[in-house]
């Protein structure tokens, strides 16, 4: 497996993008329910 730094970056990217997606769905909810 790649070095520890790359793994940490990968984990942060996964967590960040998933959180962003959830935030996006919340914005869509706001728009639709408005």
């Amino acid at each position: 497996m790649a070095d520890r730094k790359s793994e940490i970056k990968g984990i942060l990217l996964e967590l960040g993008l998933t959180s962003f997606y959830i935030g996006l769905t919340f914005l869509i909810t706001l728009l639709i329910m408005w």
């Binding site: 970056k9 990968g10 984990i11 967590l15 993008l17 769905t25």
Partner: protein
């Protein structure tokens, strides 16, 4: 010579099934220790009895098949597939013993239902009085779903001291085919590495969130561990009868959402991203498929429910609609509304959306169920490919590709095998719906529950209960099992048994004549 080979075939299956049982039974030490810490003596005794039985069964099977192991007999595909299928059946029965001994299940069938639901990461529950279950049994319930998500065969192969021939065949038999490393031992160890790293991160975050919403540190830690195992494995179990609603927290719900979305992604994708291939998350056909279908499903469900005026504001809409749609799509099954609210408040349109996303499911080679985004993507690309072929000149030859970790050729065989598995899921779903309507449940209720078991989701509309007919419980167990192992290994196992019975019949007929 041929006879000897056939006997070895049976012995190979017995040996490795016994080995898997032995390894999984070792995990009962964890609930035994937790019962010891929390001074739950009855639970500890239940697990000691169960562990003794499971270990004995595993060891006896290994002793029976040791000859084949020592002779170095070759493991064929049919053996590898049958080992996976057989181990899942035996383990379901053995792991149900502590459930039955605890007195929280009405019958052994109910106990087996819950264990299969855990192993297949479905999350439907027949265990009674969930709010007063011992820590030991709760630990076991959530461990089952965590192990099941990664796979029992994957777990057993992780503990191999040296590489064995045929290990890959057992691994594929459990419905996983991605190769993270050149050898299978390395691949399974990396699957566990990914899961355990997230176990530490996810449990810590949920622990802090639990304390922030007023839970005691020890209780918050236990709940964090249970909810992580349940979310990451896209399981749907919870340590209480109210499921995720127990926490009354947007923060807790949002964290579990992040975890179950990550759990529903392909282990190959996690591995690629951790290795520095960041673009994979955008290029991969599975992530594209998941984000498009989940986004559309959320928008449609929100629009449908906004029209019905069920939820007053955006926060309620997000917590009740988006959470449930994504929970269904990732085949998690954590529910933020009561079962009957789907039937009474969501209307036919909302139920239909849920059925569709439950059937599609998450990614292949992840902890999720359903017929998988990869297959949806392949079939959709296949349709586009056919249309393009029609529109271009007959003389031109073009190779079509799709991206899944690496570029792969999209040919008719790939499309055919994806479509075949989708058809098998649809048949399983249709039979389940028919059975539900036969027993008097409404069409919508039957279809919803059938999609939930077929896709290993675990959301319920109220059909699954201890009063449900036994035939439906048995069918749901079979559907969860077939859905999780993706049919082929079970069919191979049935074929092997049928072939054996046929040979015995022919032999006895010859003797009598």
């Amino acid at each position: 010579m041929k006879k000897k080979k056939e006997t070895y075939g049976m012995q190979i299956i017995t040996y490795y099934t016994g080995y898997i049982i032995f390894i999984v039974s070792l995990l009962m030490i964890i609930p035994i220790l937790s019962s010891l810490v929390f001074m739950e003596w009855n639970t500890m005794l239940d697990f000691i009895i169960s562990w003794s039985i499971a270990t004995m069964v595993g060891l006896l099977m290994m002793i029976y098949g040791i000859k084949a192991k020592k002779s170095g007999a070759n493991m064929q595909w049919k053996h590898g597939f049958s080992i996976a299928a057989f181990a899942w059946i035996l383990l379901t029965m053995l792991c149900a013993i502590p459930y039955r001994l605890s007195g929280h299940t009405k019958s052994l069938l109910d106990a087996c239902f819950d264990v299969m639901s855990g192993f297949t990461t479905t999350g439907l529950v027949l265990t009674q009085d969930l709010d007063h279950i011992s820590v030991g049994l709760n630990m076991w319930r959530h461990m089952l779903t965590f192990i099941g998500g990664q796979g029992m065969v994957v777990l057993a192969l992780t503990f191999l001291t040296k590489e064995i021939g045929g290990a890959y065949k057992m691994y594929v038999g459990e419905g996983k085919d991605i190769e993270l490393r050149p050898n299978i031992k390395g691949t399974t160890r990396h699957i566990w590495k990914i899961s355990l790293v997230y176990l530490i991160i996810g449990t810590t975050i949920l622990w802090i969130a639990g304390m922030m919403i007023g839970m005691q540190p020890i209780t918050a830690l236990l709940h964090a561990l249970y909810m992580f195992e349940s979310s990451w494995s896209t399981g749907g179990f919870a340590p209480n009868s109210q499921n995720i609603m127990y926490y009354h927290s947007v923060l807790y719900e949002s964290i579990t959402m992040v975890i179950f979305i990550l759990g529903s992604l392909n282990f190959g994708l996690h591995y690629a991203i951790w290795q520095g291939k960041r673009k994979e998350i955008v290029k991969n056909i599975e992530t594209q498929s998941f984000f498009v279908t989940s986004f559309i499903a959320c928008v449609l469900a929100l629009a449908g429910l906004a029209k019905l005026n069920v939820y007053p504001d955006a926060v309620a809409g997000f917590r009740r609609v988006v959470f449930n749609v994504i929970s269904a799509h990732t085949t998690t099954g954590l529910g933020s509304i009561y079962a009957r609210q789907f039937a009474l408040e969501w209307g036919d349109f909302g139920i239909l959306i849920m059925i569709l996303v439950m059937l599609i499911g998450g990614s292949a080679c992840s902890t999720a169920g359903g017929f998988k985004g990869l297959r949806v993507g392949i079939v959709c690309k296949g349709i586009v490919m056919d249309v393009k072929k029609l529109l271009t000149s007959e003389k031109s030859i073009k190779v079509y590709k799709y991206h899944h970790i690496k570029d792969r050729v999209l040919d008719d065989n790939v499309i055919k095998s994806a479509a075949t598995i989708i058809c098998c899921y649809m048949v399983l779903f249709t039979i389940g719906t028919l059975l539900g309507t036969y027993y008097g449940y409404s069409f919508a209720d039957s279809a919803f529950e059938s999609a939930s078991v077929t896709g290993n989701v675990g959301l319920s509309i109220g059909v699954t209960s201890i009063s449900m007919p036994s035939a439906m419980k048995v069918y749901y167990i079979i559907a969860m099992y077939l859905g999780r192992l993706e049919f082929l290994s079970v069919f191979a196992f049935i074929g092997l048994i049928a072939g054996g019975i046929k040979k015995v019949c022919v032999k006895s007929l010859r003797h009598s004549s």
